[in-house]
Amino acid sequence: MAKVKKNYNDVLSILIILLIMLAPPISIEAFGNQQIYKYLNLEYIVIYFFFFYIFKYFRALPLFIFGVIVDSLVGNFLGISSIAFLILYKIAIYQNTIQVRSIFISEWLAFGLAILVVYIIELAMFYFTNIKTDMQAFAYNFIGSFLSYPIFWVILKYFFLRLERFGNDKDE
């Protein structure tokens, strides 16, 4: 009987997203300030990455729960972050299914498009719930997240490919 390969990448990806959501207080302790979070949305980057490369056990329900936790911690109305995460998830999966060739530039642009859509939806929800927003901060955050995607792409891709290779070597 063929042995079923265990793949811990999905569990690891969930842990990474959870830690990134809870990272600000850790970074305060280590580095003393959180200016980086003004210019970067790490959550969107990793969620997009993991769904674009379809981590199959990682589904919509954990994202919904993560979104509720983020809203609780940030002080938003419950559901706003969840819907942003879910839409990002759906766009990432859709973009993965329609891609013909794997070219990084096209993936990068697709990421930009995906987070732009998510930001627009988020801003619309803030507008309808009368939450005051700083458009300039959103613009900086969008640009920062877009420009830093290649860096995190290289780190995550390298890390997870190494893990997969290690798993395959062990099975041989």
Binding site: P24, N33, R59, G75, G79, Q136
Partner: protein, 267 residues
């Protein structure tokens, strides 16, 4: 082996979760009392779960700081001897300070009101994003904390309570976009509203100033009691005058690395 769900099932699941999100947002926005209680419980759960997940990482991250503190303590101990000599010099300067204190007689009344009982609270979570600049503390409605109560650190106002759960509360910091604090500025006690704005140096600005006003360098800022939002006379910070029309608001206490804060509660 677990069978893969068909695409239509996934779509229905996705749409259902989106619908649940919208319903949640609507209920939360509509501020219904029983929804508020549920939200309080969700908030408490999320805060405490996050606190315990983050705690080991925080301890590891703070190790270098702890070693630094031990080194500093050792240095401080050695410096204590030197300080004894300096104390005698300070006693002479004390005379000067007494004169300086007379400047603040005009806000004596405010200072008296400041003597409210306080509640020591532990900072559970310090989460900042482009939308919020807030803290979560371990005191809630069960500890008689209410919305609007001022939160201080070393006698400096750092923010006020914006949301109260059962065993936790949210403190909106002065630099938050939604922070509105009525203040009195300088010896002439000009009234204004201090508003958080991340786009200005210092992170806060004044609005609703009188038509004619003039600030001096190092003018002190205290809370005022406009609309009974905040008790009078809590020290907020000072003004650093830069040019004729521009000024910088400087806080004597940083907003990072807050471990414990005090909530001023009513008598």
């Amino acid at each position: 082996m677990k069978a893969e769900r068909p695409a239509s099932d996934k779509n229905i699941r996705f749409l259902f979760l989106c619908f649940v999100c919208l319903v949640l947002t609507y209920f939360d926005y509509s501020n219904i009392s029983y929804v508020k209680k549920t939200k309080s419980a969700i908030n408490d759960g999320a805060v405490y779960v996050s606190y315990w997940i983050v705690r080991p990482f925080k301890i590891i991250a703070s190790l270098p700081q702890t070693f630094n503190e031990i080194r500093l303590l050792k240095k401080n101990f050695e410096a204590d001897e030197k300080l004894k000599n300096i104390i005698s010099q300070l006693q002479l300067e004390n005379e000067f300070l007494k004169k300086d204190l007379q400047k603040f007689f005009s806000i004596e009344e405010q200072e008296k009101n400041y003597s409210r009982p306080s509640l020591l609270a532990k900072v559970l979570f310090n989460r900042k994003s482009i939308l919020s600049n807030s803290l979560l503390i371990d005191k809630g409605s069960l500890d008689n904390v209410k919305i609007g109560y001022p939160v201080i650190k070393n006698n400096n106002l750092i923010g006020q309570i914006s949301e109260v759960n059962l065993k936790s509360s949210r403190v909106i910091l002065l630099k938050d976009l939604n922070s509105r604090i009525p203040v009195l500025i300088g010896e002439k006690l000009f009234t204004a509203i201090m508003i958080g704005d991340s786009n200005v140096p210092g992170g806060v600005k004044f609005e609703f100033l009188p038509k004619v006003y003039e600030f001096q360098d190092q003018d002190k800022i205290y809370t005022s009691e406009i609309e009974g939002v905040m008790p009078k006379g809590i020290y907020v910070g000072k003004l650093i005058k830069q040019t004729n029309n521009s000024y910088l608001i400087e806080f004597d206490y940083g907003f990072n690395n807050l471990d414990y804060v005090s909530v001023l509660i009513e008598n």
